[in-house]
Amino acid sequence: MIQLTRRYRFSASHRLHTDRLSENQNRELYGKCSNPYGHGHDYLIHVCVRGPVGPVSGRVADVAALDGLVRDQVLAAFDHKNLNVEIPALVPTTENLAFEIRNRLQRRWAEIFPGAWPKLQKIRIAETRRNAFEITDEEE
């Protein structure tokens, strides 16, 4: 088994705010991340896949196919967009974004990779250079 990781980037704006808390509570909890007009980040995503090396290809995964999946399911939806508008059901914390990205990739995974391998192993997403979030394929 071998793991292959591909890094992607997108730039998006967001505002951390939930209607389930008061204005004051939002301000206290999210600080400047709750400023009313939002702000943006250059996000970096690492998509890690795992599998055996194919005897013909010498590869774990068709990287072009992985690029296409990430482009269609994630980058097209999020790059240069407002995350609160694109995923209104979630507070767009990086934690929630990690789950959303993983779920979007899993939804179409079998279509792009119909065999037993490669499997999606984990997603890592960095909001800035100073923080990063990582989840495995099964984590809830």
Partner: protein, 138 residues
Amino acid sequence: MLITRRVEFSASHVCRNPQLSEEQNAALYGGDANLHGHGHNYVVEATLAGRPDPVTGMVFDLKRLKEILNAEVVDPMDHRFLNHEVPPFDRVIPTTENLAREIWRRLEAHFAAGPARLDAVRVYETEDLYVDYFGEAG
């Protein structure tokens, strides 16, 4: 405890399988299949696992690790065309995956007798693509 040392080398390669047609190679490898090859600044990270020695305080002598990495990886691969000059890549397609496996194979024997064992080999082909290999068992 895990300790990691990083080395870099620059090399050219081409990814083509002679069993496949021109179109199949292009579909599978994209630009990597272009006939005359191209190059990358590869980064290799070797990770060892072990406990610090009670006398030296070291898991493994990093000077020695550097010498091993230079002898097994950098000296034979730096500024070379992998397919033409670095066996087994005259037969094995030099994908990043196969490169990681070959580097593991070259390094593994040096740590068979301890005190640290080889835990992982990571190879970056670019900053946007890397592979991790943990040996046959991993």
